[in-house]
Structure formats: structure tokens, C-alpha cells
Amino acid sequence: MAEENNDKNGKVGLIDRVKDDIQAMKVDIPTKAKEQIEGLKDPTKTQAYTSIFRHKHDDTPRNRALGVLSNVFLHLHPAKINRDAVRYSYTWGMGGITFFLFIVLTYTGVLLMFYYHPTKVQAFRDVLYLEHDVPFGKILRNMHRWAAHLMVIAVWLHMFRVFLTGSYKKPREFNWNIGVLLLVFTLLLSFTGYLLPDDQLGFWAVTVGTNMARATPLLGHEGPFGHQLGMTPYNDVRFGLLGGSIVDANALLRSYIWHCIGIPIVASVLMIVHFWRVRKDGGISGPAPVMLPQEADKPRRGPKAAGE
């Protein structure tokens, strides 16, 4: 390069170099600015954009499929499903609504945790504080409670639909079992949350509920053979649940930890398995072509058996 040679010869001074740079800048920067503006006209071509979204969004079948498959939240779904499987009259949508409510409950629940101390002194006052002073505290608590009730109903209706469509049958037996466990954990989540406001309603509901544990056969001090096995109010299964012989501070703490940490983790793991198995067991069960009684004991031979 000429300038380099000049440099080495020491003939071109600093001022000349600066002048040269200014000359170059007058061309370079406007060119780059033009490029930048051109680029902004189509932001989908920027590096930042393409690093996030890895395919185009033109309305082509390929992009519709990729939109689902390349998204971590949507890839739970297959790219395509049976045309009838989206019919609400068949699916009732209750499984999805249950999951949505779980998300709503996690969200509102985390917000509630910011204002709540699981101690006998503070728990009830915290709820009063939530109701009267915390901005939107009342609607937050209301929403958490009603979403919990709605979730129980949605789980029941989901199970009802799965039963009525025979969707627990081969090859989905195992997933039905996971579902039953999730039903139990949903009820337990709701039940453990009942005590947390530390009011009369929750206290007596939990007292009634855990009193039954006294009567557990073998493991409860009032249950059959419990006495013979040395069970007392201070070492039986109820004591383990409550962390004491009465519903008190330890019971509040235990129920708080089960409610906010223990059961949600277990339920989340089971949910992962549940959703995974829905896909692995061949997707949603139907609406399947009806089978005739005379075909019952014949093996189903793929789509041909459907009479195509």
C-alpha cells in the first residue's frame, strides 16, 4: 500500500493521515448508514432476529411445521394432527385448561409468596395485609383460590372425557396411571393450600382431614392394630404429617413447604412424563374410526382397518 510506504519513509505526517481518514469516513459512514437503514426495512434479516427465529415465517406448509417444531414451548405438539382431533366436542380441552391453570397458579402463587410468612404470628396478618394494603393483593388471592377450584373441576372433567372415549385403553394404560397420580397431587395441592391463611375455615378443614390419619390401619394410633404396634399420638402417621400432635406452627410450615415446593416439583415431573407419553403413545386417542364388534378380536392393521 502506498500509505504504508509513505509511513515507512516518514514523508506523511499525522495530519495527512487524519485528513485521509476523514476523506475515507465521508464515504464509509454514509454507505454503512444506508446499509443499516436498508437492513432495518427488513428486520427479519438481522443477525439478532435470525439467531432467535431460525426459519422464515412465510405462509408455507414447511414454515407452519417449523413454527411448531423449532419452538421449545410448542414442540410439545406434533407438526400435524388428525383433522378431527381439534374438534372441541371430542377433546373438551380440559387437559390443556388444567395445565394452563397450573401455570396461572404458579404465577399468582409466586407473587403471593412475596407477601406471606408461614408462621403462626404472621400468616393470618399477611393475608389481611394482602386483602387490604397490597396493590392488587385481593384480586391476586382471589385468582389463586378460584383457579385452584377450577383446576380440580378441570381435572375431573378431563378424566371423565378420557374415560368416556376409552382413551385409557391400549397403548395408553400407563399414561392413565400417571394421570390418576396427577389427580391425587392436584387434590393434595389444593388441600395443603387450604391451611395457609390460618383462619378457622382452613384450620378446621385440615383438622377434620388429618384426624382421619389417626385411624390409618397399623400406622395410626386409633386405627386397627395401631395400638398393638405401639402407635401413640406422638409417633404415628398423623404426627408425621403435622409435625406435631395438633394442627399448629409446624403443620403450617409443613403444609407451606409441601404446597409451594414439594408437591409442585413432583407434579411437574409427572406432568412432563404425562405430556411426553401422550406423544409417545401415538398422540391424542381420537376421534378414532369406530370399530365393529366382529372386528374386536382381530388385530388392527393400521389405516387399512379403518376401511380406506
Partner: protein
């Protein structure tokens, strides 16, 4: 008729979900029944017309040659999910704005709530406490319900009705489930919510809750009626009655199965069949026990020094 009392029960914030559950259940049972009926008609039609059975697409919804069998999840499923999420959010918002979550007095172990009710979804179990000792109603029955639900796929050997609504192909399993879920579970929740008042006494809807009402009920035990007084005699007598219930009941189940469900019975292994028998009889034992308690005031059938049934 005490409308105020009725309104107080129905509008108690925690009872609202149960009030809402009734129309929801009615709607979804109707929805399922409608489709089951349509499918059953189609099945009957295909059975009489084998040529049609070979070419028909076997659904009640229209399908024409050349139509795509599959649709893209984006947007055909996702728009439904999105819509569902929005609708549920709106319902929750409206519900949360209009109705406050209940908050009673601070908890006080010295002041018993009367009636002290469990959360509504457990009221079925609490109602069972009237008829059974806590170890059955609170521990054994719930465990059996969970186990019973879990074994359903393994004892239902009927391959028909997988993936579509039907009644005629699954009369037994559907009526058993409806019996267990709607008639037992939901009805007992309704009784626990709307009928049980102070002292867990029976108050008809609209009847005023009387906290001072006393009912002089003399409950007897079954061995007393037969004049058995010794503890050993009571124990043996109860074992015979309960054992006899399962033995004779088991035989009745067998004789019904081999007559009316011959195909399913043939497919079942001994283990599958005996589990079905046991669970079925245990489920039916609940309304039987309720019946003998309400009609003849019989408390226990089997009395031993360790447990009573």
C-alpha cells in the same frame, strides 16, 4: 322454606364451584351422550351393511375423498388453545373481581366450627364417615379409589370403544364409571355441601339450620338383632356376613358376567376377573351400608376388639 338459608349455602364463596359443577357436568354429559348416540347409530348401520363398512371412513363427521386427513397444528390447534387460555383468563378475572376468597376468623383451636367441613372436593369422604369408621372412610376407601382408578386399564379387556364416544359397546364400563363418579362421588359431595348442617345432621335444602337440634337415634349393630352377645360370637358372625357378602356377591358377579358379558369374560384372566369382582363389590358395599344405616339404623356389621365394619 328458608330461602335465606339456602342462599347462604349456595353463595358461600367456597360452595360456588360446586354450584358451577352441576351445569358443567350436565353440559358435558349431554355432549358425550350426543356423540355416543351418533356413533352407535353409525355402528348399527355399518353392521347391517358390510359393503358400506368396507368403504366408510367410520366417523360421524363428513369426510370426502381428496380432503387432507391431517391439519397443521399451527394454526388449527394453537388457535383453539389460545382461545381457551383467553376464555379461562376472562372467567377467572370476572370471578376474582366479583367474588372474594373466603377468610374467616383467625384459627382458634378452642372454638370448633360447626359444621366443620373439609374442602368441597373431599366432602364425599367426609360424608362416608357417617357410615364407616374413619379408618375405612378416610384411609382404606380413598386408597381403594386410587388403586381402583389405576387398575381400570388393566381390567377392562374390552377392545371396543377406544378413541370414540359410544354407549352400546361399553355399557358395563361406562355405567360403572357413571355410578362411581356421578352417583357416588358427586352426589355425596352435594349431600355434604347442601344438606349437612350443624352436627353433620341432615337438613333438607331450604330447611333452617338449627344448632340446637337433637336427634335421638338408636343405632344398633347387626349382631344385636340376631341376639348375639359374646364378643367371640360377634366377631365370628361379622366375619361370616362380610365374607358371605363377598362370596355370594362374587358368585352373582360371575353369573352376570358369563351371561351378559360373555366376550369380555372370556378375554379376562382369573386375576383380572377377581380384582374386578372385589372392586365392584366394595364399591357397591358403600350404598348398601348407607341403606342399612338409613333404613334400619344399623351401625356395625362386624365387631371385633380391633376394628369395626
Amino acid at each position: 322454606m328458608d330461602w335465606r338459608q339456602l342462599w347462604e349455602i349456595c353463595s358461600a364463596p367456597d360452595n360456588v364451584p360446586i354450584v358451577g359443577l352441576i351445569p358443567l357436568l350436565i353440559f358435558y354429559i349431554y355432549l358425550a351422550w350426543k356423540q355416543a348416540h351418533a356413533n352407535d347409530q353409525l355402528i348399527a348401520q355399518l353392521e347391517t351393511d358390510p359393503a358400506m363398512a368396507k368403504t366408510h371412513h367410520r366417523k360421524t363427521w363428513p369426510f370426502k375423498q381428496g380432503w387432507q386427513k391431517e391439519v397443521h397444528v399451527w394454526p388449527f390447534l394453537l388457535r383453539i388453545e389460545f382461545l381457551a387460555a383467553i376464555i379461562v383468563t376472562i372467567i377467572l378475572m370476572v370471578w376474582s373481581i366479583t367474588l372474594n376468597a373466603p377468610l374467616e376468623e383467625p384459627s382458634n383451636p378452642n372454638l370448633t366450627m360447626n359444621p366443620a367441613k373439609a374442602p368441597w372436593y373431599f366432602l364425599g369422604l367426609q360424608e362416608m364417615l357417617v357410615y364407616f369408621d374413619p379408618w375405612i372412610a378416610g384411609v382404606v376407601m380413598p386408597t381403594l379409589i386410587i388403586i381402583g382408578l389405576m387398575v381400570i386399564p388393566y381390567i377392562d379387556t374390552n377392545p371396543l370403544g377406544s378413541g370414540y364416544y359410544t354407549w352400546k359397546q361399553r355399557k358395563f364400563s361406562i355405567s360403572t364409571f357413571l355410578f362411581g363418579f356421578i352417583i357416588m362421588w358427586v352426589t355425596m359431595i352435594m349431600i355434604g355441601t347442601f344438606i349437612r348442617g350443624p352436627g353433620w345432621q341432615w337438613f333438607w335444602p331450604g330447611q333452617t339450620w338449627d344448632h340446637n337440634r337433637l336427634i335421638y337415634e338408636v343405632n344398633r349393630d347387626l349382631p344385636d338383632i340376631f341376639g348375639i352377645t359374646s364378643n367371640l360370637g360377634k366377631g365370628i358372625f361379622g366375619a361370616i356376613v362380610v365374607g358371605g357378602y363377598y362370596a355370594i356377591g362374587g358368585f352373582v358377579v360371575y353369573s352376570l358376567f358369563r351371561r351378559y358379558m360373555a366376550k369380555d369374560f372370556k378375554r379376562m384372566s382369573l386375576l383380572q376377573f377377581s380384582i374386578t369382582q372385589f372392586l365392584l363389590l366394595t364399591m357397591v358395599a358403600l350404598p348398601i351400608k348407607m341403606g342399612i344405616r338409613l333404613l334400619w339404623h344399623i351401625k356395625y356389621v362386624w365387631i371385633t376388639p380391633w376394628f369395626n365394619i
